[in-house]
């Protein structure tokens, strides 16, 4: 399980609470302190951790609970709910529809794994029976087209790109038009990495978005203001990666997380579902 570290710490805190002879305010505060510490160590934003703590305190009034209720179970449930709420923006993600072209544009910071994820995404939908294609609109980074080309070839997915053309908007428009004509259902546009402090690159991204009019734009926090990000994919959640922060930060932007990347290989890619993710993280099996 990804985020095993955070999961085991939170589960520990819960277990300690359930073992206490009498569940009262002190026991609850102790448990909350432990959970908050674990969350901070997983890079979750300080403000969000604080909000979680307040909200649990508010929702569960240990002293005032009626005698028939199981306080332990209620507290456990409250923690679970809060963790879910933290990761759930409360919005349905875009789902590609069959028998029509779905243009999906990938944006993100440098080195966050866009190109690799594009191929994984295409591979996943290909297995689900969609006709997928890749367009490389990264004209900036050295070797970007080669990377996509090699990935796509390995996964046997058609791709479009150019070594010579330098205008990404042009390539994206051409590629998307071509694949639409050929009846592809999922058309994925890979763009170059960029961050908020780079105005010029943002204009370029808007151009690409205008020309291709994507149905969904995938990933990430600060981008929300500039283009309407539809969904997020969290990459590099494998191993020790303290993805807690990324997960919560992204959820805070209001865009639902659709998938997570858990390794370098093309199969290391899963659908993301908040409830089952949290319950697996806490070691409670995959309940829905």
């Amino acid at each position: 399980m990804v985020l095993a570290d955070l999961g085991s710490k939170v589960a520990d805190a819960l277990r300690k609470m359930t073992r206490a002879t009498v569940v009262d305010q002190t026991v609850m505060n102790e448990m909350l302190a432990e959970i908050c510490k674990a969350l901070l160590q997983a890079d979750v934003n300080v403000a969000q951790v604080k909000a979680l703590r307040e909200s649990i305190k508010k929702n569960v009034d240990v002293e005032a609970l009626a005698s028939g209720l199981n306080k332990r179970k209620m507290l456990e449930q409250a923690v679970c709910n809060e963790l879910c709420a933290m990761l759930d923006p409360g919005k349905e993600p875009y789902v590609p529809k069959k028998k029509q072209p779905n243009v999906i544009m990938f944006v993100g910071l440098q080195g966050c794994g866009k190109t690799t994820t594009c191929t994984k995404y295409a591979h996943l939908y290909k297995r689900k029976g969609f006709k997928c294609a890749l367009v490389c609109a990264d004209t900036f980074r050295a070797g970007a087209f080669d990377q996509l080309k090699q990935n796509a070839t390995k996964a046997k997915i058609p791709f479009y790109g150019s070594y010579t053309e330098t205008d990404p908007a042009q390539i994206a428009a051409e590629g998307v038009a071509k694949f639409k004509e050929e009846g592809y259902e999922v058309i994925i546009v890979d763009t170059s990495g960029r961050h908020m402090q780079e105005e010029a690159l943002f204009e370029e991204m808007e151009q690409v978005a205008q020309l291709t009019s994507p149905d969904d734009i995938v990933f990430a926090s600060a981008f929300k203001k500039k283009v309407a990000v539809g969904s997020c994919i969290i990459t590099k959640l494998d191993g020790h990666a303290k993805g807690g922060g990324a997960l919560s930060a992204v959820a805070a932007t209001g865009a639902p997380i659709t998938h997570i990347g858990t390794g370098e290989h093309i199969e290391d890619f899963e659908d993301f579902e908040v409830k089952s993710f949290v319950s697996r993280m806490l070691g409670k099996g995959n309940i829905k």
């Binding site: 160590q41 080195g111 070797g143 080669d146 908020m196 402090q197 191993g239």
Partner: protein
């Protein structure tokens, strides 16, 4: 009001505030608390005039501590070391390591440019034999910088390629060899073993850990993981560890510079360069004052 001895109870609330502040600046949580704890201990028992300046006292103590941590005990002077190696008639070998996507290849090309503009002839050595497009990426940089590239394509054992590369550079009289390695997560045992083998076999003059300024707590895990694997899987009795740090994407984080602090605190090694953009000239030395100011600014 006379001189007042500072007590733990007086300091605690202030320290807690500063700790939260450090965490918002991306300092790893436990490192933030360790630093604040040591500041607190150092202030205990010292005299203090009045109450109003307590905050200032704690702040200045923290400032001093941060400056001390960030100022490294020794500097990595790449140019001098490269010149010394040249005088010995052997190439100066730098190995770039780090997790995926932190900017190893880009940093490598920046360092190559830096060395080239200082009169050396660096050779790039493509030892990322796994990731698609990695060799082509390096070739683009080599062409742009008009530098030699040593590569053997994909799928081969990286440590062997590095060895051949160093030998080739010696034959051809290139002064510096820059070894690019594949990105790997610090807890991926097989990949870390392979890296350790590469480092042990080639014994580079400088092992440069490339980390991105965007990460928080993860930074500490990464650098610890790399150091641990380098020493554990090494065959030699005196294992090579990370010698220096290159912090990339420094332009993306505005004032959340905590990763710099976490990395230096954990390793005790200097930050050799910071990367501040995507072009060859976007490479700087770390400005400690600026860094400390950013950390304390609320």
């Amino acid at each position: 009001v006379g001189a007042k001895q500072l007590e733990r109870a007086d300091l605690e609330p202030l320290i807690e505030q500063l700790q939260a502040q450090l965490i918002t600046k991306n300092v790893a949580a436990d490192i933030g608390s360790q630093i604040c704890e040591s500041v607190c201990t150092s202030l205990l028992g010292t005299s203090q005039q009045g109450f109003g300046t307590m905050r200032a006292t704690v702040r200045s103590a923290l400032e001093k501590t941060l400056t001390r941590i960030l100022t490294p005990s020794h500097r990595v002077d790449m140019l001098a070391a490269a010149a010394a190696a040249k005088a010995e008639g052997r190439p100066y070998v730098i190995c770039f390591v780090g997790v995926n996507g932190v900017g190893k290849s880009t940093s490598l090309s920046k360092v190559a440019y830096y060395l080239k503009s200082n009169g050396f002839t660096p050779m790039l050595c493509a030892c990322d034999t796994f990731r698609a497009g990695a060799v082509e990426q390096l070739r683009v940089h080599a062409n742009a910088l008009e530098l030699p590239l040593f590569e053997k394509g994909y799928g081969r054992d990286a440590s062997g390629i590095a060895q051949d590369g160093v030998r080739y550079a010696k034959q051809m009289g290139h002064d510096v060899v820059l070894i690019d390695t594949a990105g790997r997560m610090q807890d991926n045992e097989p990949l870390m073993r392979a890296l350790s083998k590469l480092v042990t076999l080639n014994n580079p003059d400088l092992v440069l850990f490339v980390g991105e300024a965007l990460v928080g707590n993860e930074a500490v895990d990464q650098v610890r993981g790399f150091n641990k694997s380098l020493s554990e899987y090494s065959a030699s009795r005196d294992p090579r560890l990370i010698d220096g740090i290159m912090l990339t994407k420094f332009d993306t984080i505005s004032d959340k510079v905590g990763a710099a602090l976490s990395l230096v605190y954990t390793t005790g090694k200097p930050i050799v360069f910071v990367g501040v953009g995507q072009t060859y000239t976007d490479i700087r030395n770390l400005n400690v004052d600026h860094c400390v100011r950013s950390l304390l600014k609320s």
